[in-house]
C-alpha cells in the first residue's frame, strides 16, 4: 500500500479505532502496560495539538514530537497509522525482520518518527538541542514535544536537560511525563515540583481525560518550557 492510500484510509480512523489497530501488533506483550499508558496523550497530541502532517514530515516549520519513551510503541504506531504517517498494513509485521516497526522505534525506518529511542533518557536532551536549533535558525513557530515516563525521569540525562532548559527560557520546548507510578523511588514532592524548581511551567492532569490533557497542552507559558504530568493508573494496578 502506498502512503497516499494510507492517508485516504486514515480519514476514517478515530480514537475508538486505536484498540483494533493496536491489536494488529503482537509479540511485545511485555511492554503492554507501557504502550497503553501513552495512548490518550498521543492521540490528543496528534489529533489536536501537533502541527505536522504525513506530507510535511520534512517541513522545517513542522512541530516535532520526540518519543523518548520508546518502550512499548504500539500506541505510537497505532496513532501514526491512524493519522496516515505509516500504512496500517505495516502493523501486523511489528517486530519482524522485514518490518520497519520495531519494539523500539527507529527514525531512519519510520516516516514521521523524529528520533530513534528505546534506551531511556535520550529524548529530552535531544529535544533541548532541537529547540535551540530551531531558535538559532529563526523558526519561531515550531513547538518541540517529547514524551517520557516517570521511571525514565530517573535517568540523570533528563535532569541535565531540565536544569538547563528552564534558565535557557526554551519556551518552545514541551515535555509530557506519563506517570504510571512505575519509578521504584518516587520523587519527593512530586514530579511537577522538580520541573517548577528549575523554572518550568507545570501542570498535572488526568492522563485519560482528553479535555484536561488538551487544556494543559494548549495553555500559554511565556518565557518558560512547559511540562504536563499525565497521571494514569499504576503500571501493575
Amino acid at each position: 500500500m502506498t502512503t497516499t492510500a494510507a492517508r485516504t484510509a486514515a480519514a476514517s480512523y478515530s480514537y475508538e479505532d486505536l484498540p483494533a489497530l493496536m491489536a494488529r501488533m503482537t509479540g511485545d506483550e511485555k511492554h503492554g502496560p507501557a504502550a497503553t499508558s501513552t495512548l490518550d496523550v498521543l492521540w490528543v497530541l496528534y489529533d489536536r495539538v501537533l502541527r505536522v502532517t504525513p506530507d510535511g514530515v520534512r517541513d522545517p516549520e513542522r512541530d516535532r514530537f520526540l518519543l523518548s519513551k520508546g518502550h512499548g510503541p504500539m500506541a505510537y504506531y497505532a496513532v501514526l497509522a491512524a493519522k496516515g504517517f505509516v500504512p496500517v498494513e505495516w502493523l501486523p509485521g511489528f517486530g519482524s525482520y522485514d518490518s520497519p516497526l520495531g519494539h523500539h522505534p527507529d527514525r531512519v525506518l519510520v516516516p514521521g518518527v523524529e528520533i530513534a529511542s528505546g534506551s531511556l533518557g535520550h529524548g529530552l536532551p535531544i529535544a533541548v538541542g532541537t529547540a535551540l536549533g530551531l531558535r538559532a535558525q529563526g523558526f519561531a513557530e515550531p513547538a518541540v514535544w517529547t514524551l517520557i515516563g516517570d521511571a525514565e525521569l530517573d535517568e540523570g540525562s533528563n535532569h541535565e536537560a531540565i536544569a538547563f532548559a528552564g534558565p535557557a527560557a526554551l519556551d518552545r520546548l514541551h515535555t509530557v511525563v506519563v506517570d504510571n507510578s512505575s519509578a521504584s523511588h518516587a520523587r519527593p514532592g512530586g514530579i511537577a515540583a522538580r520541573f517548577e524548581a528549575a523554572g518550568w511551567s507545570a501542570a498535572t492532569v488526568d492522563g485519560r481525560d482528553h479535555e484536561a490533557l488538551y487544556a494543559a497542552f494548549a495553555a500559554p507559558h511565556p518565557g518558560k518550557p512547559r511540562v504536563v504530568v499525565a497521571r494514569v493508573e499504576p503500571k501493575n494496578g
Binding site: V128, G129, G133, S157, A163, F164
Partner: protein, 304 residues
Amino acid sequence: MDTMRDRFAPVVSRLLDEDPRVAVVLAEIGRDRFVEAERRHPDRVINVGIREQLLIGTGAGLALTGMRPVMHTFASFLVERPFEQVKLDLGHQDVGGVLVSAAASFDWPSGGFTHMAPGDVALLDTLDGWTVHVPGHPDEAETLLRHAVGAGDDRVYVRLSVQSNKDALAVDGERFLTVREGRGGVVVAVGPMLDAVLAATEGLDVTVLYATTVRPFDAGALRRAAGAADASDVVIVEPYLAGTSTAAANDALADLPHRVLGLGVGRRELRRYGQIEEHVAAHGLDPASLRDRISGFLGGRARG
C-alpha cells in the same frame, strides 16, 4: 609556540562567522575563549554547564534541525562519560557532528588519571562511520578543524593535544604522508609522535609514514609502503592506547604475509603525576625506547 587548543576557539569562531549552520556546544570547559563569538552569535554558542550527556544530546538535536554542531570538552568527558549519547544520539539517529577534544592521553599529568583518555580512539572504533583526525601540530589542527566542520554531515572526531611536533606538514584530512623511504620496514607515526619516530629511526632503512587522519585508515598508503619493502613489517606508533590501529593495519595487509607491532600508551594505569615527558618515557614512547623496540621488531633488515 601556541598549542592546538589555542587554535580551536579562533578557528571555530571564524567558522561561526562564515557559516550559519555552525553551532558550538560547550560544557563550561573552554568557554572563556568563546566570549566574543558568543556575543556575536548568542544562539549558536551554547554552554550547557557541566552536563556532558546534555552536551552530546544537544548537539544531536541541533543536527536534527540541519545545523552543524561542534561539541567540545576534555576527551574523558567528551567520548567516555557520554559514550552512549555518542553512539545513539549521533550514530543511531543517523546525524553528524564534530567532537573536538582537549587533554588527549596525558596532557595534564599532575591532574592524574581522571583527566587522561588514552582509550578514546579505541572506544570510537567500536562505532561505525567516524572520521578521526589526530593533528601533530597547531597548524595541522587548524587545517583539520576546518576539514572536520566542512565535512557535510559526517561524524568527525578531532583530538587536540599539547604534545606537538616541531614543524607542521601539509596534511589533507585523508592521506598518510611519506616522510622517509626505506626498504627494511614501515613505521607509521600518528600525529604528535612524528618527531620522536623520526629521531628513533634516524639512520635506519625504513619508510616512515605520517598519519593525522587515522579513520578512515589509509590502507592504500600502507599497502604501497609495505609492498615496496623487503618484508611487510609494520610498526604503528600512536599517542593513545597501544594497538588501537593494529586491526586496521592487519586488514590493509590481509593479502600479504605481514607482521604488525602496535606501540602507544600502555593499558595499565600508571598512577603517577609529574610531567608529560615522564609519561612519554614511562610508556616507552621516547626516541631511545622507540628505537630499541622498532629495531628489535624489524631486526637486521632495518639497519640497512
